[in-house]
């Protein structure tokens, strides 16, 4: 393709994950000429759905949070007119945790949740204070947690190990780390944005949300290229000049924003020659988060044993979360004893997932079918009797499936591990050695999950729009 005016953009965004879509929408709405190039044939990254045999399955993300008044997701959805394209509902209860000797429910009515937890743990006197801190923390109070772990936060409020494990279990499931390793900042954010303010879902499935962002992006004048893999970031004298697309050739732009994974952005797309050596070395030693083994089940009819459609059920086999993490990360075989499962709001599909490490692809080819059946059996034994009798369709995704569809390194579900050591590295968001390059999404070390992606996408667009106004790209 020749270098004509048509191939020139103000910004090119690599990847139509939720963060790239949000960033693209805001930039295009502000009048910038923006291209989003996505390698998959539909937008959304982990926020996608697929159809099989008449069933619609959410691929990975299956609900979202931060939609309260003042929440970042609500802001983006309102600012960008997404609420005119998709109906968002909240499901109650949000989460149900099945612990070895009790069941704790997180309701949309927080008062009800607090009372339930207080009744289960009468000797703990700071439950209300903990929820109150998590619900409306002052930014500086959360900032003061920067060197602490989520375990430190739990220890500050509570003494009962079981209570601490119950509160940390959905944080492990939503963030991939046990409390002793999870940074207090990220752990608290997950608790605030995904658990206390969680449970929202777009009518028709998660793809509807990504599609609505993609449609609005186009309405704002943006160009979205699907099935378009970016093979290279073009650099001209220490600043970006565009990208090379696998099948469409080069396009030129003043900004390049990567919503992709950091290792591929810096080590593959940029080619190592233009990358700061210290950063390249660091990227090789950083740790990606755990991945998932996911099963998708089509159900003949809703039956009594199924959890409430739209609520997430969390099964914890014991209270030692550190051990659950160790097993998921280190064991050569997949452990499916801890999991989350969820019946879609329309009641005809069930999604279940369990954390696991990447492993060799041959392992998954040899074991996928057996693991799928083992997982169904585990759920049947632990939470949903007679599940197998109602299944009319079943499929599974391994970490390699997730990697293939989203190009997340090692099929990592949450970007980098959110440890204190891997927290808030400005070089992974706005590298100083190259002008015009920015990253957004869960590989920046700044935030994770859908709400984190939306926050970063908005925040980056705001930074770029201000820069443009001041005339310094």
């Amino acid at each position: 393709m020749s270098n004509t005016e048509g191939d020139r953009y103000d910004a090119v965004i690599i990847g139509a994950g939720i963060s790239g879509l949000v960033c693209g929408c805001y930039l295009a709405k502000a009048g910038m000429k923006v291209l989003i190039a996505e390698q998959h044939h539909q937008p959304g990254g982990y926020c996608t759905s697929f159809k099989r045999k008449g069933f619609t399955f959410d691929a990975a993300a299956h609900s979202f949070g931060s939609y309260r008044e003042g929440g970042v997701f609500r802001k983006a959805i309102r600012d960008l007119g997404i609420d005119q394209r998709v109906v968002i509902k909240r499901y109650d209860p949000i989460d149900i945790i099945i612990a070895p000797d009790m069941r704790i429910t997180f309701w949309t009515d927080q008062e009800r949740t607090i009372k339930e937890v207080e009744e289960a743990f009468p000797n703990e006197h700071r439950i209300r204070e903990f929820f109150s801190f998590m619900k409306t923390p002052r930014p500086t109070d959360i900032a003061a947690l920067r060197r602490k772990t989520f375990q430190d936060v739990l220890d500050h409020y509570f003494s009962d190990k079981r209570l601490k494990a119950i509160l940390a279990f959905p944080v492990l499931g939503n963030g991939g780390l046990p409390p002793s390793l999870m940074s207090a900042f990220t752990g608290s954010k997950i608790f605030t944005e995904f658990i206390i303010d969680g449970g929202y879902y777009p009518d028709g499935g998660m793809q509807e949300l990504s599609n609505a962002f993609a449609q609005q992006f186009k309405n704002f004048g943006g160009t979205l290229l699907l099935s378009s893999l970016v093979t290279r970031i073009l650099v001209d004298d220490r600043r970006v000049s565009g990208v090379e697309l696998k099948s469409q050739g080069s396009v030129y732009s003043r900004y390049v924003i990567s919503n992709g994974d950091a290792r591929q952005t810096f080590l593959k797309l940029l080619r190592e020659v233009s990358v700061d050596q210290r950063l390249a070395d660091k990227l090789r030693t950083m740790t990606p988060s755990l991945s998932m083994f996911i099963i998708y089940l089509g159900i003949d009819d809703y039956f009594d044993a199924l959890p409430q459609p739209g609520s997430t059920l969390w099964y914890m086999p014991h209270y030692d979360l550190e051990e659950l993490y160790r097993v998921a990360k280190m064991n050569s075989a997949v452990d499916l004893t801890k999991y989350l499962c969820r019946v879609s709001p329309n009641g005809n599909t069930l999604l279940a997932m369990s954390n696991t490490s990447y492993k060799d692809e041959r392992y998954w080819i040899a074991n996928k079918t057996r693991l799928l059946d083992d997982f169904i059996e585990t759920i049947e034994k632990t939470a949903i009797p007679e599940l197998s009798r109602h299944i009319v369709f079943k499929e599974a995704a391994t970490p390699h499936t997730l990697q293939r569809y989203t190009l997340n390194d090692e099929g990592a579900a949450y970007g980098w591990e959110s440890t204190r050591e891997q927290f808030l590295d400005p070089e992974l968001r706005k590298p100083s050695f190259l002008s015009g390059l920015y990253l957004t999404g869960h590989w920046t070390t700044f935030a994770q999950g859908l709400a984190g992606g939306v926050y970063l996408g908005y925040n980056l667009s705001d930074m770029i729009i201000r820069r443009e106004r001041h005339g310094s790209a």
Binding site: P139, D141, A144, R146, K189, L424, R466
Partner: protein
Amino acid sequence: MEQIEKEIIAILSDVSGVDEQEIKPETDLMKDLDIDSIKAIEIIVAIEKRFKVSIRDEDIPKIATLKDAVQMVTHFLRQKDESSVKH
């Protein structure tokens, strides 16, 4: 003091995107500059790097305005000077 203020204003402006001229000693960082928890950490880290001081985590919630931030940095720099004289 004036130099410290000027440099902290530059950091606040860079992180918040608000023009330097609009940032006054009484400016409330959260209300007026829309500083959220992530930006608060970015500011703290930038201040620590620029002035080579270490801000104690328990002191972070005490910073509400530009004036608070300037006073805290001035205090830490003075402490640092005194300890380097002693050694």
